[in-house]
């Protein structure tokens, strides 16, 4: 078991290096011209540009720059922002809690909504409720998150005046509800479909029939026997969908002026602050990779049938 965890964890390292390499290539090799000049604009002071170039070692051979960059990452050095001159990691870590909060809230919403809709749909399959939930989940999967965000703003902020249309509100829950719902809805739709189909699969299994035959109440059968086994694929969905969730967070944050990493990344692109783009992208991709690792590792805890060989 420990060996398995270790092996899986070690396999993540080359992936992270690959991610860092591709972002490095994009920002410092494929960009036509001098990234510092592009970022500072046409009228930047040549001396400032020279200073930044020297400070970042941009005149060194590429391979040296690359080595320094990868080495720096291992030491937690993500370089300095072109525009604010602050260390990138500090800026990223400052914004990270807001994004983590949004993503976590969205995931909770998606699990609560998705799993309950999925169970109802499976238990009462082909009923009106089943069709209702499945239509909704079809719409949810196809709906752009930022559009749902705009619709929620029109309905709940502008028309009903119930919730704020944007901002962080120094962490108050009222500000979290709309963005979390906008972001979590697509995920909820995916979770609902997956819960339904994997519930339908186990509901015919012999052990569920046995549970029913020995006179257990329907609720216990559904929750204790069917759901427990149906949840494994659902957890996979939550893990693999995290990529969409983080991408969606970038868009949701823009709609609701949420001060997270996504907005930081978009602003960095608009200002062409290459070290900051690099830092946010690597950080978010690393989050995605690590959560998927945790999902992988958690299978064994949930399903004793899975062996670590």
């Amino acid at each position: 078991m420990l060996g398995y965890i270790l092996r899986k964890t070690l396999m993540v390292v080359p992936i992270l290096i690959g991610i860092a390499t591709i972002t490095f290539l994009l920002n410092f090799v494929f960009v036509p011209g001098d990234p510092v000049r592009i970022s500072m604009g046409q009228h930047a002071d040549p001396e400032t540009i020279e200073m930044i170039r020297a400070e970042m070692g941009l005149d060194d051979p590429l391979i040296v720059q690359y080595g320094r960059f990868i080495g720096g990452l291992f030491k937690g050095d993500f370089g300095k922002s072109f525009t604010t001159r602050q260390p990138v990691l500090d800026m990223v870590l400052e914004r990270f809690p807001a994004t983590a909060k949004l993503a976590l809230a969205a995931t909770i919403i998606s699990i609560v909504l998705g799993v309950s809709a999925g169970i109802v749909s499976a238990v009462k399959s082909n009923s009106f409720l089943d069709y209702f939930f499945m239509t909704f989940s079809m719409l949810g999967i196809s709906m752009p998150v930022y559009w749902l965000g705009l619709v929620l703003i029109v309905v709940f902020s502008l028309n009903l005046d119930l919730l704020p249309a944007g901002g962080y509100g120094s962490g108050s829950l009222r500000y979290l509800i709309l963005p979390a719902f906008a972001l979590g809805f697509r995920q909820a739709a995916k979770v609902a479909r997956m819960t339904r189909s994997s519930m339908l699969e186990v509901i015919d299994k012999d052990y569920v029939k046995t549970a029913r035959a020995k006179g257990l109440s329907e609720q216990i059968v559904v929750i204790k026997h069917a759901l427990k086994n149906a949840l494994i694929p659902v957890i996979t969905v939550i893990g693999t969908q995290l990529g969409y969730l983080l991408g969606g967070a970038v868009l949701t944050e823009s709609v609701f002026s949420w001060p997270g990493l996504g907005r930081l990344a978009v602003n960095a692109v608009l200002k062409r602050d290459f070290p900051l783009i690099q830092g946010t992208v690597i950080f978010l991709a690393a989050c995605f990779v690590l959560v998927n690792l945790l999902v992988d590792l958690s299978y064994g805890l949930l399903d004793p049938r899975i062996r670590y060989d």
Binding site: G18, L26, V154
Partner: protein
């Protein structure tokens, strides 16, 4: 010898026409109501995109200027003359939504075209030659899939000095190939050792010919499904990039651009956000339904 091969092919063709797997798949697809809804929506989308100049009543990019550069029809809510209303510059939103279908479909098709070329080439090379080349390509696939999709696209868009729809094609195409490469690689590896491939090789068929004649036809079903769902994904991604200001640029009537402008006027003129968003949702849903239906019809064993 040659005549015999031809004769055999003919016989094969005749027997295939009777029970061709494609015919069977079509029969299964026709029975699937959701897939037919998807096919219907996709067809309408195609028609709207192709005949946009006939369908759209107004110019999507420029409104008629009345006099002194003043625009009379600025920011009007939905009416009979302008069923979806007009925007700040007096442009008919309905016409813009119609033309937006063109951009979305183009993005979907071109992106997937690039992904197909890259995916088939890399997948085939990896599966065929194996060894270090395979390891390298597989590693690249893993790394590419480790990026959140939209975030990867954003990072690539940062490279270009000016964003624009042509760069969106490139950015999304460059990151959409890994699932296709995976399919083709797997297929190549599974048929590489088959006798008929060996026979083709000993008859002097080139690697390229073997890939085109044997590998692609064998993996056509999963490729079609992946590409169809990929079109929907690309449409969503383009709209998202454009909404952030990092994709298609105004005055081009991309649905994402329209939502971006709509957001600016959301407090006073919320009607502007409804129709471009609905258009994205319906288009993506239609193509997804078709893709899901194709998956069930082409290969009943394939799953989510």
């Amino acid at each position: 010898m040659k005549a015999q091969v031809e004769e055999e092919q003919e016989i094969k063709q005749i027997s295939e026409e009777a029970h061709s797997p494609w015919h069977e798949a079509w029969k299964r697809l026709k029975k699937n109501k959701l897939a037919m809804i998807g096919l219907g929506i996709t067809t309408v989308l195609l028609i709207v995109a192709i005949f946009a100049p006939i369908i759209a009543p107004y110019n999507p990019r420029y409104a008629p200027v009345i006099e002194d550069g003043k625009v009379e029809l600025s920011l009007q809510g939905p009416s009979w003359a302008h069923p979806f209303g007009t925007d700040k510059l007096g442009r008919d939103i309905f016409s813009r939504v119609v033309y937006g279908a063109r951009i979305s479909l183009m993005v979907g098709l071109i992106t997937q075209g690039i992904a197909l070329v890259l995916g088939i080439t890399l997948g085939a090379i990896a599966g065929y030659y194996g060894g270090l080349i395979d390891e390298a390509v597989s590693y690249l696939i893993q790394v590419f899939l480790a990026f959140p999709f939209i975030l990867f696209a954003i990072a690539i868009m940062a490279v270009f000095s000016e964003p624009g729809v042509d760069k969106v094609f490139l950015a999304l195409g460059l990151i959409s190939w890994p699932p296709l490469a995976r399919i083709v690689r797997g297929q190549v590896m599974s048929i590489k050792e088959e006798e008929y491939i060996e026979a083709a090789q000993s008859l002097g068929a080139s690697d390229f010919r073997i890939i085109v004649k044997h590998v692609i036809p064998n993996s056509l079903a999963p490729i079609i499904v992946t590409v169809t769902l990929g079109v929907a994904g690309a449409i969503l991604a383009e709209a998202g990039l454009s909404f952030l200001g990092l994709g298609t640029q105004p005055p081009r009537p991309s649905w994402g651009v329209m939502l971006k402008t709509g957001q600016e006027y959301i407090r006073s003129y919320p009607y502007m956000i409804w129709f471009p968003g609905l258009a994205i949702m319906i288009a993506v849903m239609g193509i997804n339904l078709l893709g899901d239906g194709l998956r069930d019809a082409l290969d009943p064993k394939m799953k989510d």
